[in-house]
Symmetry: C2
Subunit: 364 residues, 2 copies
DNA sequence: TCCGCCGGTGTTATCGCTAACACTCTAGCC
DNA sequence: GGCTAGAGTGTTAGCGATAACACCGGCGGA
């Protein structure tokens, strides 16, 4: 059926073969360069020719070869997302946002996961995506591994970053355009203020592993405390991002009757705290208030329903993609501001905390 | 520095350019075909030549061009994962398993999400991945959209499928080798038996949207009931996979004092049921037992901790990849069997259910 | 001793497309 | 009327690799 190419199936059924640009050209009665112009939307093509070519394309079921395109132009129309744990809600949603935007733009999305934040793993991942011919890269810099990868990325690969807060303080101004991020500090501050306004003397903070030594959430939390004249307790750093670590730490933390409000680094941690409170016989929010971050879909159905900060992760992903492709655009893709969602897990500070721990004075 | 190619940066800094196979060849003093043989592990290359070529590769920082390879060989070393909702735990984990296996094999992973199970969306997605030159495809057939896409996939694209149960009953035997799946029926049966053995007269079932009219979980659940001589209640079909739909349905279902055990289609739904029980003043497991599916990381920290069926999703992903690439291998990648994890949400059947609904006789 | 096989290597022809340049023709200008 | 500008199209030369084939030498068997 088609004369060019090795696109035909190895055995028989020539109908399944793929048409090349030349087949289209001869069917349309133009040179194959004109076909190339049409599929690339070049301006200087007569309407008549464009029509003929498009008809031929439809007739033959022609599909441009990504490989040939990439080879001839020197760069693939693709973006690789570098991420460390794509099962976490925020990561998965961000990836989804990127994919959505990329799909609309006709650009392929590849993924590459970072095994850990160890130097060799980061280096291997960066090496795997550092070929500028393979297209652009978006780094999910929510954690240390991502932040390191981003730093290690060679300057000659087009890239942008999605992060929960701006990590490029020391970067030149021009580089800022490569970042999509939330104002994490203000979000944390608002959540803390919410608790303070409920009458809590202070707010304890269980943190997620940060990209930096002092995360921006921690900064906002501290700012709220200081400006309210509240004491600033030591930050708790459980192991990892998960529920288990926070649960374990909370089991110790909540024994202290002075602890009446806990701001957690994410919803999973908050769930661990809720469970720890339950284990200790404490009521939420009567004895202790809990706030999370992220607003995972299940958060509204926890018992009690979780007060948390909602992030527009999908929007973040779309914006990161947008920054990559249309840095010229007057306005990058819109991004909802983080918003505190008040549910059941926060309430007025208790006059006096109840629960069995009040009587349990055996712990130090 | 390098003489061939347009790989150099547009302006200056030739050191950043990319070496081509020819540069390597001349540096090693061999023909570029020999270089090709070395990077493709062809057998007939002398150890000496191989050594020289590898040295030159390291020296020049040579990296093969994926595009050129794909163009010349006719097929890209890539696999595209077709998935409908990559934020759900099982999907994300499976994707992670695929990525892990693909990374080890040096194969790129791309993703393409299915917007919905509407015919046009499915067709568009399938169209987007049906170019055999773009590499293989793995379909996540956990839902109707995935199952439809898999059916619509042309025979000439290499593909495999990951599913929660085997959907290819009517497929020819050879096609079965393309499937990675769990024995969902047995898993559901075991979970149901667990509840029956606790003394529950029957088990109600809240289902997730199935790929087929009668899901395999439903089949296993029914089998257990029938063989125990227990009545088979009508299956509840909430809207979607989420917590909200299950919560809403459970609010109605649990009003019936005869309902003492609920088997949910996934952990999110189970959370909705737990919350509904709480809303109705019912205790779990004293009044009603709840079982989920998936064992999401948070399940062990719900209040009460959820009894659920654990699935090895990452293993499923690895196996799906394995089936695609090494169908020759004597043994596909190992896959853990689904396993019931008993925690706090299941307990002996109540003699008589308590809770305010017992007195609330206003509902029909 | 001659032949043929085969390990090891080089040569040639594509793969399907884009980019740069060349060419033709018409319209608009002085 | 001659000239130029520019729209519209065709021609040519790669992009960086793979595959098929050709070639060359040494070895073992007849």
């Amino acid at each position: 059926m088609f004369v060019t190419g090795h696109n035909g199936p190895p055995d028989g059924d020539p109908a399944a073969a793929t048409a090349s640009i030349r087949d289209v050209a001869s069917a349309a009665g133009v040179s194959y360069q004109t076909v190339s112009r049409v599929i690339n939307n070049h301006p200087n093509v007569s309407e008549k020719a464009r029509q003929k070519v498009n008809d031929a394309i439809a007739l033959l079921g022609y599909r441009p070869s990504r490989a040939a395109r990439a080879l001839a132009s020197g760069v693939d129309r693709a973006v690789t997302v570098l991420t460390s744990n794509n099962s976490l809600f925020g990561y998965a949603e961000t990836l989804g946002g990127i994919e959505e935007a990329a799909r609309a733009a006709g650009i392929q999305v590849a993924i590459r996961v970072l095994e850990s934040d160890r130097a060799d793993d980061v280096a291997a991942a960066v090496e795997g995506v550092s070929d500028p011919r393979s297209g652009a890269v978006i780094v999910l810099a929510f954690d240390r591994a991502g932040a390191r990868a981003l730093r290690a990325l060679p300057a000659n690969v087009r890239s942008s970053a999605a992060a929960e807060s701006y990590l490029g303080r020391r970067a030149p101004a021009a580089d800022r355009d490569r970042w999509a991020w939330f104002d994490d500090t203000i979000a944390a501050e608002q959540a803390t203020v919410h608790l303070l306004e409920l009458g809590h003397k202070t707010v304890h903070h269980i943190a997620i592993p940060s990209t930096t030594n002092v995360g921006d959430r921690q900064r906002g939390w501290k700012r709220a405390l200081v400006s309210a004249g509240a004491p600033v307790p030591e930050v708790i750093h459980p192991h990892g991002w998960g529920t288990a670590g926070a649960h374990q730490e909370a089991l110790r933390l909540l024994r202290d009757p002075a602890v009446t409000a806990v701001l957690c680094g994410n919803d999973d941690q908050a769930l661990g705290v809720i469970r720890a409170a339950h284990d200790l016989g404490l009521r939420i929010p009567a004895d202790v208030s809990v706030v999370g971050f992220d607003d995972v879909p299940a958060a509204g159905f926890y018992t009690p329903a979780l007060t948390t900060v909602r992030f527009d992760f999908a929007g973040l992903g779309r914006r990161a993609f947008d920054l990559l492709m249309n840095s010229q655009a007057p306005e990058p893709a819109p991004l909802e501001k983080p918003a505190l969602v008040v549910r059941e897990s926060t309430g007025p500070a208790p006059l006096r905390r109840t629960g069995k721990t009040t009587s349990d004075k055996d712990d130090r």
